[in-house]
Symmetry: D2
Subunit: 356 residues, 4 copies
């Protein structure tokens, strides 16, 4: 595979650090440029408040953090963005305009009609919007986004249920890890021995983004499958790994066993293409009554943290409904990992190319 040179916006934050850990030994993506805001100018090792257990890889510790301007990324094939929303809104378009392929975690542009919102296993075809985007915005480059961490795990489970059984309605409750709030994020004074039943704007994002991702291509555009979603988002004292209960309603009777089987059998385009960050099994089914659990299951699978783990698949109120619980790693599958997988897919599909 051709080598890809990458730059990273928002490199010193919690998600930025996850990119660095994940890209350290990537077979063909070389993270070459680290960019920052106030931290620009210093060495990465001094600028980042490193939160991972592993030490900062030496090659990155010594790297200079550059300013968040397109010039910094010269020569790069892809620009990852782990910027907060407000900064993303201002900065990402400048890179796309300058000819860079930007892949962003930020919520700023996710819901723009001409911006793909992609989970590679679920809706790779949405990358096709890039052409419309470039034309309309007169950009030499492009902007692709990946969804909110809670939406990511959810759509990965909903998609096979939608395709196979016509999932019509999802009532969801999330129990989300504190790392989802970034750093410094949730004060320990608030979350220790507690549940916080609210995360600002999260429920709206999960519903809107999940619906956009599950849209399917029709002549002349995309069409929404009519699926209805309600969610209650909660914060719990867990470091990594979002847990979600899903109550799903279907147009007809479904058997929990069939649901489990079709989740377990699900494979997406990244699996077919054997992309390096694609887990062999996107969804792992656990049969034990008390799984999945975030602390035990968040790093499951052949690419740790990239599989969604599902358990407790059982009947709902009648034959037309099923309940289940899922765990998804929020900063791997729900952030850096999906973005990296998106880069791998875009490379494979010919969407990446250097400006200039």
């Amino acid at each position: 595979m051709k080598k890809l040179t990458a730059a990273l916006l928002g490199s010193t934050g919690a998600v930025g650090q996850r990119y660095i850990s994940m890209l350290e030994r990537h077979p063909f993506i070389k993270l070459d440029v680290l960019m920052g805001g106030r931290s620009a100018g210093g060495n990465y090792g001094q600028s980042a408040r490193w939160l991972q257990a592993d030490a900062i890889p030496e090659e990155f510790a010594a790297k200079k953090v550059l300013a968040s301007v397109p010039e910094s990324a010269r020569g790069c094939d892809v620009v990852f963005s782990a910027l907060p929303a407000a900064a993303a809104a201002a900065i990402e378009p400048k890179f796309a305009m300058s000819g860079f392929s930007v892949i962003s975690e930020a919520s700023a542009h996710r819901m723009d009609q001409d911006v793909p919102l992609v989970v590679p296993e679920i809706n790779p075809e949405q990358l096709g919007i890039i052409e419309v985007q470039k034309r309309r915005r007169k950009w030499k480059g492009s902007l692709v986004t990946t969804p909110n961490c809670t939406a990511t795990g959810l759509v990965m489970v909903m998609k096979p249920l939608l395709d196979r059984f016509g999932l019509a309605r999802a009532i969801v409750t999330s129990m989300q890890a504190v790392s989802g709030a970034g750093f410094p994020g949730v004060p320990s004074l608030l979350i220790t021995e507690n549940v916080i039943p609210y995360i600002k704007d999260e429920e709206e994002k999960v519903v809107a983004e999940s619906r956009k991702i599950l849209e399917h291509p029709v002549e002349g555009g995309m069409r929404h499958p009519g699926i209805e979603i309600a969610i209650s988002c909660n914060r719990v004292p867990v470091i990594d790994g979002h847990t979600e209960t899903l109550y799903g309603e279907f147009p007809g009777a479904v058997e929990p066993d069939e649901v489990a089987d079709s989740l377990s059998a699900f494979r997406g385009l990244p699996q077919k293409l054997r992309l390096p960050s694609a887990p062999e099994q996107p969804i792992i089914i656990r049969d034990e009554p008390d799984r999945p659990q975030p602390r035990l299951d968040r790093l499951s699978g052949s690419v740790p943290g990239m599989s969604v783990v599902v358990g407790r698949v059982r009947r709902g109120i009648g034959d037309n409904s099923v309940q289940l619980t899922l765990v998804s790693h929020n900063t791997i599958r729900g952030a850096a990992g999906t973005a990296i997988l998106t880069a791998e897919l875009m490379q494979n599909q010919g969407y990446l190319g250097r400006p200039g």
Copy 2:
């Protein structure tokens, strides 16, 4: 009010201790007899692994723990039972047979058709079954039960919604405190920095018991209102206070504001009777977006721990549904407190009387 003398089965366990704390200064119930299993024979202060922050009240510390036989309770007007299910199944009927009025936390007999399952604010009329029970079982005394801790908070919120708006379906996810599992209960090795998405038999209990409690009297018996319930029960690293998200569906359109108002306005018979353990407001509505939280709200209200705190009352998917979050103290409202309130109500309604 006439003084009531009480005995306590299962006095040394976690729930038993809560009775002792709550009855220490009760205006008319005097806890006189403490009973235990293997702990019988010693002083309470030595036998109980005391888990409360307050010290053991001195009068109880020095009390001898008696054997769990009807003779021990001689002279008592009411026998509270905080026994585990298996012991309750064997021991409680002996007390009822001997003429005692037994009020039990245990699940053993909750679903027996001739055993009232009571939350005093919600279904005081179910005490009427006692007559049938005594006749059928040829008991001189009686057995009344109170529900599972998760069911208790849930039915308190469902009842006003059922009466006023005809609540038809409830999709619930619970995030339950570790104290609900008793002592030693949940190993810290399992629950620290984790969510356990399963509690043995809990979901079945919540559904069945909630339905039994919400039945209404019709000619010749009780009739179920047809309400449908599904629940996912989870354990979270919280000491006290169960949090539940409720997605409710109604036959017609409901306004979240009306829902909040009718919950806030709800009063039951214990409030009308001004029973000492009845909180002025059974349901407290919090308007802040991030409430209720178990650590902050579990001891709310005029009788700490006896009010259910509700927040985030908002629309569900369409006009016919509403979502909300509730917190209920699992060992007060969900256990000892509701049992004590039941004793107060039974005393008021003339159901209590000494054997002999």
Copy 3:
């Protein structure tokens, strides 16, 4: 007792809130003026991110937050300061200069030679420095400080050991609650399922402040008793309550039982004067092998949170040493409570008086 009217600097922060809770029902101190920084101008209920379980007392919720200038406190007999250090350094002297009696939690002036650093039970005589202070600084008012939360519990235990047994050396390890870091304070991402073995500047403060507090008056000034202290400060995932292990060395042999007895028997001037915030027993000894514990013991005593709880009093390496563990509530005894008790003592001793 004559009524005291009080003003509060730093009213919206975590410690400020503790003052409001503690003064709500004080027998003779009336908290009349709330001051803030950026929050000045709004209502307290809107400006404060209220962190206590009890609701904001209504009278305070509606109060306007005033600017942090002496004019705001006009008519007040005492000004409490819960300001952060930098703000305290700038603001507190202005109030003292204007004639106010300022009692401060802040570290800014604690080590100034002419500023009393007081724990009322331990060194009430240090209030005598006020005269020197007023003369030297030409202040109409005065500034009195209370120590760091970890030092407070420690000196309360060291003082009786110093007086009775001549404690010569203390090797201490603290396990401190997150509330000690204020709000937002310690990120949950750092402290969940973890110990952080460092708190910036804390060890230096504890050593220096403890030594200053334990000084005794000699002709012409104060003299240090020569006690040596070393401490390792750690943060642990506890909400409230600092735990400290103390290894104490003495010039001669001591019996652990005598140590326990003399701690238990210790009474200070506030106890003799029956000041309202003085707990009957400043130090409570627990005999159980596994006490004190922060969650169970932090609110012990006749004035909840004002007693230090000590346990595990046992021999050290030889006859000349003793080991013990103590728990002290860091935002009550270690902050607001000691400041309020200081105000009570100053009032009693004639140190308070309105400017003008």
Copy 4:
């Protein structure tokens, strides 16, 4: 290296599981026989309450759990024991008598005069006692023990300080993880948002075992170096990784920098022999002010969990003392890992041999 066939006593418990994880891919130790108590007879996968995040290795899941009798281990070169103390006292001697080389985690025989208590880096020479043991006990096999988890990390740090600077006294406070108590171990109801300042018998074990390990060979036996140790053991809400603060006193002046350097430079016999479970660096020094932390540092080093991580090396009260903080993984370095490393060392030194 010659292959070793191993058997495991206490295979289904928490420490037993750690052996299985660590030996799954060992270069020359093949774990062939799993033994259990009540679990004997079933398949391992069904009998063990598996607590590790990784799934049970398939080969072990299907293995039958055998009875804990010497016949079960026939053909094995070494028998690891993860038994609780009481079972160990009864069972281990039977294996040693039958000719097996037993390496035990259990406390039962650690302090027996003719039983080596070994940390391979620290006192490999203590294996020499085996000859005395065999003669005195008339055993065909032998029994070697490894120390308590808290003692292990401590002696690894004390030994270089003893050898180089003559460490004379250690005042220690531990903050221990819940996994050290096994399964089910510490109830979450006790440890959540809390510190428990006591672990039964732990302090006595740490002191006695550390002293035995640090003994040095003299003519005709071993001699104690005269080092004095006092420790306060605490349980904190951490899953894995014991943190310890150490205040060390020396006969003369020492520089913290020299202390750090000599810890960092320390290598033992296992490093020289390049044993597979020997970390390149037994002690890792971290320079950041807020390290080591159990969650971030417990899996450090070239063999994850086998290095002790030390930080905050600084002066104590005077020139003759130093303070530092260490983190050591309690179930790897403090249990299974040290036992496996001991087996590697014994194999290398010719101590292992099949009963024949």
